[in-house]
């Protein structure tokens, strides 16, 4: 709704003066009055929640950086002795930052699932979707490098496992890992560059977020029906309607966040990270943070390291190309019951991959059952569950999404988003007055 006419009236002389020079107040006012579909449900509050999360990470991160020492000998002590014990409320700042990263990922995963379910990636919002994918990748890089900073055992060994992956590339592998490490192994130079980048990337994220919101304000929000806004009566001004809804949702989110920070600050961490990094002592299980586990499982599912790395990148790549894989003209899965079913199975596959990522590769899925060996592993092993789930993960994007759009019969889609809102307050779809929009 970039054509939404500005309703801002500069009322004072100084506002009028500024408005003809830098119309920044007008810009803010237009953002606030932006016409927003009136039927957005709570899944749509996660954008606001994500902005809140980014703010928390940046503010707490800047304070942590004031007390943090990125040296091999000093990093662990500056966190564990300095920040956790001596800095006033340092335990709180770090608790917010470390758990904040997990909360950030929780929110981004819900936000992405929302986009997948309601088809938010479809025309004319492909660029908006791509920018979101860029943010997600930057977040993973930022969180990975942040996790190295406290220089505990898992920081060190996690960094070692992940950076070594780059060594799988032919020709460029060796120079690339040397560049990442700043030497021949993970060591102080690695820590230094990760700290520098960990400070930088969140601001890059903030910049992409600005583009993301810009791209949102060109076509305007989609909505749970997937039907585009047709008239002004379909919308409400963003403020106060969605400011108050988002604030309420953020407040509920903060309760969950606070439970972690105050009552189980280490629940999402690994006990190994409470011991200082020791290059001579490999932990029994090297496991990444929960939000990276599905990708770790895909990586390990494949016997060849290079192909594994490519599959990992490809898994992310699927999200990027999704707008061009989906052939259906119906946007929302509300009206695509078959696709919806495949989507729920896909979520289960992702959860299974997450679970597998935390297990030993030869661990049994069903306890006590031994079947037969196939490509290095028993069929009843974590590795095989990862393999099957990975295949489904890719098939969902590469086979099911393009084919189903052509063959399925969607439910009737309402004429306007207003229709269902009128008759069904909680946003329940109404098939009744709908002109069926059939397969594309």
């Amino acid at each position: 709704m970039s054509d939404h006419p500005s309703t801002y009236q500069p009322n004072t002389a100084i506002e009028r003066w500024l408005d003809t020079r830098l119309p920044i107040i007008r810009f803010g006012a237009d953002l606030m009055s932006f016409p927003t579909p009136r039927n957005l449900n709570y899944w749509y509050t996660f954008g606001g929640i994500l902005a809140f999360c980014l703010g928390v990470q940046i503010v707490t991160g800047i304070v942590l950086a004031m007390h943090y020492d990125p040296s091999g000998a000093g990093a662990f002590l500056s966190v564990q002795r300095g920040i956790m014990r001596d800095v006033n409320y340092g335990w709180l700042i770090r608790g917010l930052h470390a758990n904040g990263a997990s909360m950030f990922f929780l929110a981004v995963y819900i936000h992405i699932l929302r986009g997948l379910y309601y088809g938010s990636y479809k025309a004319p919002r492909e660029v908006l979707w791509l920018l979101g994918c860029v943010i997600y990748v930057l977040m993973m890089a930022t969180a990975f490098m942040g996790y190295v900073l406290p220089w505990g055992q898992m920081s060190f060994w996690g960094a070692k496992v992940i950076t070594s992956l780059f060594g799988a590339f032919p020709f460029i592998g060796k120079p690339l890992t040397a560049l990442l490490w700043g030497g021949f192994s993970v060591d102080e130079p690695t820590l230094n560059r990760f700290f520098s980048l960990h400070y930088l990337l969140p601001f890059a994220i903030a910049a992409v977020v600005a583009l993301h919101i810009w791209a949102l304000h060109v076509p305007g929000n989609a909505n749970p029906t997937g039907v585009e806004v047709k008239s002004k009566s379909d919308t409400l001004p963003f403020h106060p309607y969605y400011t108050v809804k988002d604030l309420f949702a953020i407040s509920v989110f903060m309760i969950l966040f606070a439970v972690f920070v105050f009552y189980m600050p280490e629940a999402l961490g690994k006990v190994d990270n409470q011991s200082m990094a020791d290059p001579l002592k490999t932990p029994a299980h090297i496991v990444p943070e929960w939000y990276l586990l599905p990708f770790y499982a895909i990586l390990r599912a494949i016997p060849d390291k290079l192909i594994g790395v490519l599959a990992l990148a490809g898994a992310l790549g699927m999200l990027f190309i999704l707008p061009w894989l989906d052939t259906s003209k119906v946007r929302s899965m509300r009206y695509r019951p078959q696709y919806r079913m495949f989507f729920f199975i896909w979520i289960v596959a992702c959860a299974a991959l997450g679970w597998c990522g935390a297990q030993e590769p030869d661990g049994q899925v069903i306890h006590g059952l031994t079947t037969f060996n196939l490509i290095d592993y028993d069929l009843n092993s974590v590795t095989w569950l990862s393999r099957i789930s990975s295949i489904y993960y890719f098939a969902y994007f590469l086979v099911i999404t393009p084919l189903l759009g052509l063959t399925e019969t969607p439910l009737p889609v309402p004429d306007s988003l207003y229709t269902p809102v009128l008759s069904h307050p909680a946003g329940v779809p109404s098939g009744a007055a709908a002109a069926p929009e059939t397969k594309g």
Binding site: R38, L77, Q80, R81, M84, R85, W91, L92, G95, F184, S185, S233, L236, P240, Y241, V244, K245, L247, F248, S251, V252, M254, I255, A258, V259, V261, F262, Y263, P265, E266, V271, D272, Q274, S275, P279, L280, T282, A284, E360, D362, Y418, V421, L422
Partner: protein
């Protein structure tokens, strides 16, 4: 540098070979203790922390360092010797007296000579060994881990520490050959199958530990008259180490309570505002 790399590479190779056996690591179910600091309202029992500190000081500190803790921390709120009269824990007389008993390495500012001087509240606990190599050679090749974060760095925390140091009172299972300088401990995660002659299905759980069982009854004399059984000493030192790992727990939980109350009220107000504003959304 090159030697370091080579050592690391050799070690990594060894680990890769030994890898599968790591996966076979076992451990007996931990002895579960009901701690005063469990739960969202739990607090440290100050008398227990004082007893636990005594066990640490008189027993464990011979081998285990406590690098991250300064003497003044003992007098911090929630700590073993916190006394509301001394808001600044550096002034706490108990803390000062404890610190004075330790000899701290320093440099004489006039002569530049390396000297030892009595500790002050601001000093950190000195390590029992000059360096890791010395610690390793004095302990049959194993380094006693620093205790500042031990309770946080092990699955099970204080339950684990309590289980490991109190043992099960029985001798090592028959058929198990215990390597020189090692002890069998069912709670130490490990794999003893290579040392066990007998039914593989009955391989003892747990592993070997290079630490001799550190506690015996009456190893310390408690100032508050508590009977110093092995269980009591074990619980007290585990509680002390739980505090050492998480000295801000009480501050955290009490601030958490206020924050939760605030957030619930805020959420209620926001929900009310949301209902009010949307009631005139009209359509």
């Amino acid at each position: 540098m090159l030697r370091k790399i080579l050592a690391a590479a050799t070690f990594a190779g060894l680990v890769a070979v030994a890898g599968p056996s790591l996966a076979g690591s076992t451990q007996a179910p931990l002895k579960e203790v009901h701690w005063s600091f469990d739960g969202p309202f739990g607090k440290y029992d100050q008398a227990q922390l004082q007893r636990g500190f005594k066990v640490y000081k008189e027993v464990c500190s011979a081998c285990h360092s406590l690098n991250e803790i300064a003497f003044r921390n003992l007098g911090d709120p929630g700590g073993p010797f916190w006394n509301p009269k001394y808001k600044n824990s550096n002034d706490n007389p108990v803390v000062k007296a404890i610190a004075k008993d330790y000899q701290i390495a320093d440099i004489d500012s006039d002569s530049g000579d390396a000297i030892k001087r009595p500790g002050t509240s601001a000093d950190y606990f000195p390590s029992p060994f000059a360096n890791t190599a010395a610690a390793r050679s004095a302990n049959g090749g194993a380094v006693p881990p620093d205790m500042s974060l031990l309770a946080a760095a092990r699955e099970g925390g204080p339950d684990y520490i309590y289980s490991v140091v109190t043992g099960d009172g029985t001798d090592a299972p028959a058929g198990l050959t215990i390597p020189d300088g090692k002890y069998y401990d069912p709670w130490m995660p490990g794999d003893v199958s290579a040392y066990y002659k007998g039914d593989p299905a009955k391989t003892p759980v747990g592993g070997f530990i290079a630490m001799p069982p550190p506690l015996i009854a009456d190893r310390v004399t408690y100032d508050d008259g508590t009977k110093a059984t092995v269980e009591q000493e074990g619980k007290d030192v585990a509680a002390f180490l739980a505090w050492a790992s998480d000295p801000k727990m009480e501050e955290r939980k009490s601030l958490g309570l206020s924050v939760m109350i605030f957030l619930f009220v805020l959420t209620g107000i926001l929900y009310g505002s949301y209902r009010k504003i949307w009631s005139n959304a009209g359509h």
